[in-house]
């Protein structure tokens, strides 16, 4: 088998992976970036609204206010040291991005344009702030392309269209690299590294209706699970309130930031009833639940009363054309309406994973070695995770809009910087562990088996999984529904063994890739279902009618799901920030 060696390996070429790669390549390290799609096809490209940083370009702002909003938005499950770190780092990170070429929209004085987004305030819960730095409604595209461009300059080595199959680890738990598959030829390749960063993005494809791309299948998280690493807070999955009804494509919160609002079948601006202050810019979990409640109570729109409407026409054509051009285009293409004239039909869509691979605030992967506080976050040397696949945890139980691009960029950058030091102190590759390579190869070769008897197809099983997750781990979750979900999922997972490929060619076999992705979806689906069924409270995105209140006494703690035996354990929230006072839990009102 072909084997190559690099100082650092980055799995994933989204915003997180590429911002890390840039630091490393500029420091003259040999860095390999592996991506299953050409880098600019990564889903960061789809981010619309923008990235948060307290630049204060439009009105007064402070990182400390940003920190408060993020802690509150997290429903007090976020780690306050990591949150402080992120909100402070946001400012230099955005300036660095601008210097790297991102074509941010501008204010009259030439500074970066910032728009209001949900959950943002001045003065710790006061008036609405405007903190989201935007390049029209194509911010992710602008950022991802600029980062790719800078990586070309820095001569980063890209493995484009290589699919990472599994991490290679030795008996002591060190990660030695990855086994990957070159999609064009179907040949495996072993990439050895001194340090590895997992930056594989989210897994929205585990749900039927999602804003996530076809490639968002949680591969990195599943690889971590299989390497014995737990996943943290997987029960917290964000449903974005405004997906195009019936389709799932996203309509950015920036639409409401620019003045759009939601109405029900009676034409009522119903968010006034659910969040009297913030109204349509309340936090996402709040707005999604409000929409589902309106529909459940019979005030949905359309012949089937199954969606609500997002009104934009009052903003006028000029604002829409200037600030929301892509939204207009998407509405025309996918909903068949021009938002300048008609409201957009919307319904919550599976959007973002708050949980993921547990890390500290330097993006180093941590896992518990014991029950004591300082044993709960033992660092795995040389292994990093950043971006949507990681859980630092800055989003806790609910992420604020504009904080994910921030998260991926900040922690990608920090991971890069930390890896530079790590490689300096650990200049040698560790010896390869053949048993681990064999296990990864076995997983790959299993798909060579020819069909026999009642073989199932990848597509059938994926559809079943997605429907199951939607029904049993959706916006509202009760004990019975979730317990049933776990049992059904365990049964469905058994059927994986019956799935076979009809087409087993080597060259650009997308069926084989989708089979490997399906296994990953099962792994993370299970993590979500098990963690959700066990949390007996409502917090952030995890909303239980049977336990409608947050329970700080018993549940202000992170969950950790281990794949072996579908086991859960818990660890404390880090409530002590770095330099300021802790924000104690309060009731969350918008």
């Amino acid at each position: 088998m072909k084997t190559v060696q690099f100082d650092a390996l980055i799995i994933g070429a989204g915003g997180a992976g590429m911002n890390a790669a840039l630091q490393l390549a500029d420091a003259q390290l040999q860095v390999a970036v592996v991506s299953k799609v050409f880098p600019t096809r990564s889903h960061t490209v789809a981010a619309q609204g923008g990235v948060n940083a307290a630049l204060g370009n439009v009105m007064a702002d402070k990182w400390h206010w940003h920190m408060f909003d993020t802690v509150k938005g997290s429903d007090y499950l976020g780690d306050q040291d990591a949150i402080e770190h992120m909100c402070r780092e946001a400012i230099p990170t955005v300036y660095e991005l601008e210097h790297n070429g991102v074509p941010f929209s501008r204010l009259d004085n030439g500074k970066i344009y910032q728009r209001p987004f949900g959950g943002q305030s001045q003065e710790f819960g006061g008036k609405q702030a405007a903190r989201t730095c935007a390049a029209a409604d194509r911010t992710g595209h602008a950022i991802l392309h600029s980062l790719y461009q800078q990586n070309i300059r820095a001569k980063t080595h890209f493995f484009d269209e290589y699919f990472a199959v599994d991490l290679i680890r030795d008996e002591e738990g060190f990660i030695l690299g990855v086994l990957a598959l070159e999609i064009a030829t179907g040949e495996p390749i072993l990439i050895e590294s001194k340090a590895t960063l997992i930056a594989t993005g989210g897994g929205g494809q585990v749900y039927r209706t999602t804003s996530n791309a076809h490639i968002n299948t949680g591969d990195g998280m599943a690889m971590a699970l299989r390497a014995g690493i737990p996943l943290q807070d997987m029960e917290f999955f964000q449903f974005h309130p405004t997906g195009i009804a019936g389709k799932g494509m996203l309509i950015t919160e920036g639409v409401r930031g620019e003045g759009g609002y939601l109405i029900n079948s009676e034409g009522e601006r119903f968010m006034e009833r659910y969040a009297s202050m913030a109204k349509d810019l309340a936090s996402r979990d709040v707005v999604s639940r409000a929409i589902v409640t309106e529909i459940n109570e019979g005030r949905g729109c359309g012949p089937n009363k199954d969606h609500v409407l997002l009104k934009v026409d009052h903003l006028g054509e000029e604002v829409v054309a200037k600030r929301l051009p892509s939204i207009r285009e998407s509405s025309r293409i996918f909903a068949g309406i021009d938002p300048v004239e008609e409201p957009i039909p919307v319904f919550p869509t599976a959007h973002y994973m708050m949980g993921g691979i547990p890390t500290d605030r330097f993006a180093r992967v941590v896992m518990p070695l014991g029950e004591e506080q300082d044993e709960q976050n033992a660092v795995i040397p040389g292994l990093y995770a950043a971006g949507e696949c990681a859980c630092a945890s800055v989003h806790g139980a609910n992420r604020l809009g504009g904080n994910s691009l921030l998260d991926i960029l900040v922690f990608g950058r920090l991971a890069g910087k930390d890896i530079i030091d790590y490689v300096k102190n650990n200049p040698e590759h560790r010896p390869l562990n053949q048993a681990s390579v064999d296990r990864a190869l076995y997983r790959l070769n299993r798909w060579e088996l020819p069909p026999e008897g009642e073989a199932l197809s990848v597509n059938e099983l994926r559809c079943e999984l997605q429907k199951l997750m939607e029904d049993h781990a959706g916006v509202f979750r009760s004990e019975e529904v979730m317990q049933k979900g776990v049992l059904k999922l365990q049964a469905l997972r058994k059927k994986l063994a019956q799935v076979r490929l009809q087409h087993r060619g080597k060259v650009f076999n997308t069926a084989r890739i989708e089979a490997l992705e399906l296994e990953n979806l099962f792994d993370i689906g299970m993590a979500i279902a098990v963690a959700a069924a066990n949390r007996k409270e409502s917090r952030g995105a995890h909303a239980r009618p049977d336990y409608p209140k947050r329970d700080d006494q018993n549940w202000m703690k992170h969950s950790l799901y281990f794949q072996q035996g579908d086991r859960l354990s818990y660890k404390a929230v880090r409530s002590t920030p770095l330099s300021v006072e802790s924000f104690p839990p309060k009731e969350r009102i918008y």
């Binding site: 889903h43 490209v45 070429g101 500074k111 070309i152 076809h214 996918f334 060259v507 997308t510």
Partner: protein
């Protein structure tokens, strides 16, 4: 609806063929949805796709003779039989998947990154809304390749002529008030092949699914060169 799809598998076939598929018409169906349904019938069909909303640039294909993104092409707007082929002029890897490396190499050749003048300010480099507006129509490119693979000059000289996508990108940096390397950029482009193989045939404009106008960008570069020389 009748579809005729280009098939080629280098492992088992000498030559390509067109394969027919029937699908029932569904309201609001996009071409990508149709290809996915076909894949359900025959999982060996290979094509690239990801975002499903026209932003990732993965699924450029040739449909009834025109290049476009499958995910934002409404099937109802297409004439039957719907013929789907790979983007023209590029080596086919399998079925609808082509090798785009030459296209990417040309992009890399224009130094597609901002080279701001030193020293950098501590905060953002200021740019007026009017200066920022000059980037509109240039920075939105998603590198789908629909334009360059529709350009006859690129078919004949894919290694020498940069092609509309790379030239649009070159223009994006020439148009950026923050860039400090315009002179060198123009000198590099001033070459019988790199730029001047464009004969303003406009096929690129017609092909661009994001409604960008590479021909205009090429014209802009030419006039910058003239200004530069005078």
């Amino acid at each position: 609806m009748l579809f005729r799809i280009y098939r080629f598998d280098p492992e088992t076939e000498q030559a390509s063929s067109m394969q027919e598929f029937e699908l029932p018409m569904q309201r609001g169906m996009m071409l990508r949805d149709a290809l996915l349904l076909i894949q359900e019938q025959d999982e060996s069909l290979a094509f690239r796709h990801s975002c499903g909303e026209g932003v990732c640039g993965s699924d450029g294909v040739n449909v009834n003779g025109s290049n476009t993104l499958a995910c934002i092409t409404r099937v109802a707007d297409l004439k039957e039989p719907i013929e789907v082929r790979p983007l023209p002029g590029r080596p086919v890897i399998r079925d609808l998947v082509v090798d785009m490396s030459q296209f990417y190499r040309q992009y890399e050749r224009v130094d597609p990154w901002l080279k701001p003048s030193e020293p950098l300010p501590e905060k953002e480099i200021l740019q007026s809304p009017a200066e920022n507006e000059k980037l509109e129509g240039l920075y939105e490119c998603i590198m789908c390749g629909c334009c360059s693979t529709a350009c006859p000059s690129f078919w004949w000289n894919p290694d020498k002529f940069l092609g509309p996508q790379a030239l649009l990108t070159a223009c994006r940096f020439l148009a950026d008030s923050r860039d400090g390397d315009k002179q060198a950029r123009l000198e590099y482009l001033d070459d019988a092949y790199k730029l001047f193989r464009c004969h303003t045939i406009m096929s690129c404009v017609e092909a661009c699914p994001k409604n960008l106008n590479p021909t205009k960008a090429i014209g802009q570069i030419k006039s910058l060169m003239l200004k530069d020389q005078s």
